[in-house]
């Protein structure tokens, strides 16, 4: 098995077909890389989404706890008002 070209320049020229050969190989490489990149990027987006999902659950939990406290305090307030009214 021998290197088929006399020089690197000849290799890039591809016997005059350089443009077509390198165009075909280049675009194919780009197409593959684009899909590889997209597949990895999707995974990153999923990681972001799951973090957002966890943060949202925590916010809902906190909001619920806060509103529970508030309703407790308002019911106490109502009671005291009622008591005042009765008196």
């Amino acid at each position: 098995m021998t290197f088929q070209f006399e020089s690197w320049q000849a290799f890039w020229q591809m016997g005059g077909y350089g443009f077509y050969v390198w165009l075909a190989f280049g675009v194919s490489l780009l197409a593959v890389l684009a899909l590889v990149y997209e597949s990895i990027w999707t995974k990153q987006q999923l990681i972001k989404a799951v973090n957002a999902q966890i943060a949202r659950k925590q916010r809902i939990k906190q909001a619920k706890m806060q509103s529970n406290k508030q309703t407790e305090s308002t019911t106490e307030h109502d009671k005291s008002e009622q008591e005042v009214g009765r008196a």
């Binding site: 016997g15 050969v21 075909a24 675009v27 990895i40 966890i54």
Partner: protein
């Protein structure tokens, strides 16, 4: 007889299987494609008629074969999904579709870049070229049909029907060079007799064919993993996996 296969339809075990397989497919495809492409570009002898332009064959033929191979794989996944009602199978179908579309695009593009210097034109409405273009549209159709439904079970069924109907195009592509008078040359390596290509030229082609198959496998596996996680992002196993893998 096929009972042992069933646990793999469970999303979590499918994900784990993909995780084990992915590095093998990915690295072996990088290695084989590197060796095959280098061999084809620099060490294989030039064609006596086409000179060095024939070196495009080393991506054109593997990608064209794999564009049909990926379609068969996608159609099998669609069939399994429809017959046995396996959701994971629909996900596999949708994981393969973009990879097959990419292979079809590469086959068409490299064909055009080869056709220009050899036939004097980028494109002709010839049977082989047109049927391969239809294959690209079938892939895009399957993908868009799936995306058009919000209910992904409905989406899987609809896209499966389209994928299965499109199988008719595969023999049309394969035999197009025999059934019609075309500009495209006939089969070179997929012949039952000895292939009509010198062995010094054939080896890198076979290596690249193996590499392209491994590449389709690797990308499909990666995309199936993504699809499994996306669909089950509210399930504990997916949340756990994503958190674990974001730290790694």
């Amino acid at each position: 007889m096929w009972k042992w296969l069933h646990p793999y339809a469970k999303s979590e075990s499918a994900y784990q299987l993909c995780k084990t397989l992915l590095p093998w497919f990915a690295w072996s495809s990088v290695l084989t494609l590197f060796v095959g492409t280098l061999w084809g570009l620099a060490f294989a002898p030039a064609d006596y008629q086409q000179g060095d332009s024939f070196r495009i064959i080393y991506i054109h033929v593997p990608s064209a074969i794999l564009s049909m191979g990926a379609y068969s794989a996608m159609a099998i996944a669609a069939f399994v999904g429809m017959v046995w009602q396996i959701r994971t199978s629909y996900m596999a179908m949708m994981a393969i579709a973009p990879v097959g579309a990419m292979m079809t695009f590469i086959a068409l593009f490299t064909g055009a870049a080869w056709g220009k210097p050899m036939w004097g034109t980028w494109w002709v409405w010839d049977a082989r070229l047109t049927s391969e273009l239809v294959l690209l549209f079938l892939y895009l159709g399957v993908i868009s049909l799936y995306k058009a439904f919000d209910d992904k079970v409905q989406a899987g069924k609809a896209a499966s029907v389209m994928a299965l109907v499109g199988v008719i195009n595969l023999p049309i592509i394969h035999y197009s060079v025999e059934w019609w008078n075309t500009l495209h040359q006939g089969a070179t390596i997929s012949k039952f007799e000895r292939p009509s290509i010198a062995s010094e030229m054939l080896w890198p082609l076979l290596i690249n064919l193996l590499g392209a198959s491994l590449l389709v496998g690797a990308l499909s596996i990666k995309r199936l993993q993504n699809e499994l996680l996306r669909r089950e992002i509210h399930r504990p196993w997916a949340v756990k996996t994503l958190i674990k893998e974001s730290k790694a």
